[in-house]
Structures are given as structure tokens and as C-alpha cells.
């Protein structure tokens, strides 16, 4: 049930977004900043995700597949 709700949410957001503001390419200087990225430091993001994955019960969000570990 939760999975279906998530899918519906994605489709609804997708439909709404097509009517959203359109930022032109020459207006994207701020968005191109390193500190505006989803994960400005890739290695740090992976390291942190691995630590939390090893020490907590949850799965990291995002598309990271990657190796598992025999974490204790």
C-alpha cells in the first residue's frame, strides 16, 4: 500500500511540475554552485551512508547500490 502511495505521489508531482517556473539556462548560476548540489562531496556522502548503514537499521535513500559489507 505504501509503495502504491509513493508511486502516485511521484506521478502527481510530475504532472504539477510541468506547470512550474522555468528557469532559463543563463539564470542557473546559483544552482550550479558546488554547495547547491545534492551531495557536493561524493566520497563523504558514501562514507557517511556506509557508517549509518552499518550502525543503524535503515537503508540509505538515493540510488546507491554498491557493495555491502559484513558489518558488525
Amino acid at each position: 500500500m505504501k509503495r502504491i502511495n509513493a508511486l502516485v505521489l511521484i506521478l502527481v508531482i510530475g504532472a504539477i511540475s510541468s506547470g512550474c517556473v522555468q528557469v532559463k539556462p543563463w539564470e542557473r548560476d546559483l544552482l550550479a554552485r558546488r554547495d547547491m548540489g545534492w551531495e557536493p562531496d561524493t566520497l563523504e556522502a558514501k562514507r557517511e551512508a556506509h557508517i549509518y548503514f552499518s550502525k543503524e537499521a535503515s537503508m540509505p535513500g538515493g540510488s546507491g547500490g554498491g557493495g555491502g559489507c559484513g558489518c558488525n
Binding site: 566520497l43 550502525k55 543503524e56
Partner: protein
């Protein structure tokens, strides 16, 4: 219409809009008569969507082919606090309070291969040592943690390779990797795709990855509760959506679903049955697991103060009965253009697994059982501070032709950083109150120190 964009502290690029709403450079600085013009980062950045969701394994931002070879290196030191004497059980006669210590080195290379493909290679090596939680004793009612002896020493080696194929409206990615520890070997494969819409204001992405793991617990013969030679596999599906909201803000929403099958327990953990005939029996978990993670992210830049706000919320649930919430907030404060100080805070709260217990009641012998603190109900708070410096063109050189074909140009941009994190977990930080009999005595606290260097060649 012409605009001047600042590429770095020293470079300016003048661009103008074309008829089809794209940009083209009017002037490019640093253009020598006989060398290839090096596209400015500002120009490349403007023509991308600035929305590329982190790929399966690739660099965090690129949704246009990268122009320059990049190398990233990081070293980190992780140290858990010693288990406090008040939580430590000496009943077994063995065990050390000194918990885990890990030294980690990471290396990543991103190289432009052809005009439309990039290649990435990532290597990790780490050394781990220290005692780890074994099972819990309920002496005089209060649960205390029995630890292994401080003899666990292990090393992990991780290798990952990925390729990005760029198309007119997005990119496709494939990846493959292996991970090896003394008692563990894993192979993983992944594919992913990303497409841009609404003049690159909207990005949709999807990915899938598969992993197969072999576990061969050390000293299986010495411990009656320890199995030997187990396997498991898992498949991970991802879908994501991101949207530019304004000139200074973006948002994304992603869903992850993972199914795991096989041996999912921890061979080094056990659980105690209390009572006169009570035994210590092996940790046992279901042979299947379904997990779902929903992640919402928001980024906003405040031009007036030269700072950016990051806000992430993750909701997680699985069919072992665990529900968790994570909130992560960070503030990136820029000074003088080359220095960024980033304080951040994270709050985490999880419920317990259906089959989690500190100890089993007398005579109780459930099919699934675990005393692992990582399946217990608790909350965690951590704070981090990071300082990063960025120097463009710190070194100029004439790269020979063969180096230029792999994207090495005639200058080096350098980014270096230092960071520190402090993490505490406790039943009191949980969103829902945790009873004393449920709170795991082995909840962990740790520190992480990290230093990193990145170069764009």
C-alpha cells in the same frame, strides 16, 4: 542579452542567449592560439540541468559529459567510545570495553572517455579492529552488554567501476563492483537512467542494482552458535524526481525498494535465554527482507549572505517491523569565495524489529530472535563541522597530447577539506518513548575525523 558570469575568483565568461534558449560564449579567456579552448566550468554548469540526481556510482553532479579528469582522495578515522562500565557485563569472563576503530582510505577517478561517455573508478581500503557486542545478560534485572574479546581485526577492500553514456536528454549508467573482507565477499551490478524535461528544469531517474554476497564467519568451529558458509542476494530499485523551484532553490523526491534473500542474521551475535536452564542461542533472522526508503531533499541558496541551506528528510520502513525517521540539516557558509564552513546536524529515530529482545524469557525459543542493538528502539543525534577551501588554477602546466586525450588540460583546480563528526545514540532521543527493558545496553557513540583532497586537472 549578454551576461557576465563569474567562473571563479579570477575568471569571467561573457555569455549570450541564443534563439533556442541555450547559451553560447561570446568571449572565453585563457584561449591560447594552439591549445584546445578549455570550456569554463561556469559555461558547462549553466547548460546542465543542475539537477542530476546522484547516479548509481558516478559523480554527484554531472549530467553533461565531464570535460576534465578529476581525482578525489579522502582519509578518515572512526572511533567508537568505550562501552561504559555501567553497561558492561563481566559475567562471561571475556570481553573488552574497547569498541570499534576504523581507518579508511578512499580514492576516486573520473575521466572523460569519449565525447559522450565518462568512466569512473573508485577504490576503498579500510582496517577495522576492536570488540563488538555479542549478547546481552539480564543480571539483577538490568540488561548489560557482553562483548567479544578485542580480537576482531579485519580489513575491507572495495572496488567499483562505472560508465555514464550521455544522450541529448539525459544519460544512462552501468556499474559493477566487488567488496572483500576476511569473512565476506560481495559482487554487485547496477544500471540506471536519467532524463531531463521542461528545458532541464525537471529530471526523472530510475536505477536498479543486484548484489550477491558470500559469508564465511571466522572461527566457526570454535563457537557452537556460529554458522559457516552462508549466502545472500539482494535487488535494489530506485526512482527519483527532481525539480528546479526558482533561481535559487531545488527539491527532489526519491523512492528506494530493496528485497534481500538468504542468510540475513549476524553470525557473531547471540541471545541469552534467562532462567535456570537458559542457554545462549544463535542470532536468527528471517530469510527474506523487504525495505522501503522515501527521501525528500531541499536546497536553497541565500545570495545576500552567500550561504546555502540543505534539508533532508528520510522515512524508512521494512517488513521486520522497523520504522525510522531521519532529519539532516546543513548550512554551507561561504567566505571570500574560496572558503566554506559547513555546520550540520542530524537526528535519527528508529523503532524495534519484531523479533528484537535484550534477552529471551525462560523456555522461550522463537524461530527469529536477536539482541543486536541495531534492531533495537532508540534515537541518535549527531553534529558535524566541515571546512573546505577551493583554489582554481593553483598550478599551470602544459599537458602532453596523450594526457589531454584523457581530459587532463593545462591547469589544476584544488579542493581540500577537514571535517569532524560526533554521534550519540540513546533511548531518550527516540521519537517514541523506549522502556528500560527494551533499551539496548550496547548503543554506540562515536567520532569521525576526515580529511580530503580533490583535483580537477
Amino acid at each position: 542579452m549578454k551576461r557576465v558570469i563569474k567562473d571563479s575568483a579570477t575568471h569571467d565568461v561573457v555569455v549570450e542567449a541564443t534563439e533556442d534558449d541555450d547559451v553560447r560564449p561570446v568571449e572565453l579567456l585563457d584561449e591560447a592560439a594552439f591549445s584546445l579552448p578549455r570550456p569554463s566550468r561556469a559555461l558547462t554548469a549553466l547548460t546542465t540541468s543542475a539537477l542530476a540526481l546522484p547516479g548509481i556510482a558516478g559523480s554527484a553532479r554531472a549530467d553533461a559529459p565531464i570535460e576534465r579528469a578529476t581525482a578525489d582522495a579522502a582519509f578518515s578515522y572512526y572511533k567508537e567510545d568505550n562501552l561504559s562500565p555501567g553497561k558492561f557485563s563481566t559475567s562471561g569472563g571475556v570481553g573488552s570495553r574497547e569498541r570499534y576503530e576504523v581507518y579508511t582510505g578512499q580514492l576516486r577517478f573520473d575521466l572523460p572517455a569519449t565525447a559522450r561517455t565518462d568512466v569512473g573508478i573508485e577504490i576503498l581500503y579500510e582496517e577495522m579492529s576492536g570488540a563488538s557486542p555479542w549478547f546481552v545478560e539480564a543480571e539483577s534485572g538490568e540488561p548489560l552488554q557482553v562483548m567479544s574479546g578485542a580480537t576482531i581485526e579485519d580489513e575491507r577492500f572495495d572496488f567499483l567501476a562505472d560508465m555514464d553514456f550521455y544522450l541529448d536528454r539525459g544519460k544512462d549508467t552501468i556499474s559493477a563492483g566487488v567488496s572483500k573482507e576476511k569473512d565476506y565477499f560481495s559482487m554487485n551490478y547496477g544500471i540506471g537512467t536519467e532524463r531531463n524535461y521542461n528545458d532541464k528544469n525537471t529530471t526523472l531517474s530510475a536505477a536498479g542494482s543486484f548484489s550477491y554476497d558470500w559469508i564465511d564467519p571466522t572461527d566457526a568451529d570454535d563457537f557452537s552458535t556460529r554458522p559457516s558458509s552462508k549466502e545472500k542476494w539482494s535487488i535494489d530499485l530506485f526512482a527519483g524526481f527532481s525539480q528546479i523551484l526558482s533561481r535559487a532553490s531545488t527539491a527532489s523526491f526519491t523512492v528506494n525498494y530493496k528485497h534481500s534473500d538468504g542468510y540475513l542474521a549476524d553470525p557473531y551475535k547471540a541471545i541469552r535465554q534467562i532462567g535456570p536452564a537458559g542457554q545462549v542461542i544463535a542470532d536468527r533472522r528471517p530469510s527474506g527482507k523487504d525495505q522501503v526508503s522515501l527521501l525528500a531533499r531541499y536546497r536553497h541558496h541565500f545570495e545576500a549572505v552567500s550561504g546555502s541551506l540543505h534539508g533532508d528528510y528520510r522515512f524508512y520502513t521494512d517488513d521486520w517491523g522497523i520504522i525510522s525517521h531521519t532529519v539532516d540539516l546543513a548550512w554551507y557558509q561561504n567566505f571570500f569565495g574560496w572558503l566554506t564552513i559547513t555546520p550540520s546536524v542530524r537526528w535519527y529515530s528508529q523503532g524495534k524489529a519484531d523479533f528484537y529482545d535484550t534477552v529471551l524469557q525462560a523456555g522461550s525459543f522463537p524461530g527469529d530472535r536477536s539482541s543486536d542493538y541495531r534492531l533495537s528502539p532508540y534515537g541518535a543525534l549527531s553534529y558535524r563541522i566541515k571546512a573546505e577551501v577551493e583554489f582554481a588554477d593553483v598550478w599551470n602546466y602544459d599537458a602532453p597530447d596523450w594526457l589531454q586525450t584523457v581530459g587532463v588540460s593545462d591547469g589544476l583546480d584544488l579542493i581540500a577539506s577537514l571535517s569532524y563528526e560526533r554521534y550519540f545514540s540513546d533511548g531518550d532521543y527516540s521519537a517514541v518513548s523506549v522502556s528500560e527493558s527494551d533499551e539496548a545496553p550496547g548503543l554506540v557513540r562515536f567520532r569521525v575525523f576526515a580529511v580530503s583532497v580533490s583535483g580537477r586537472f
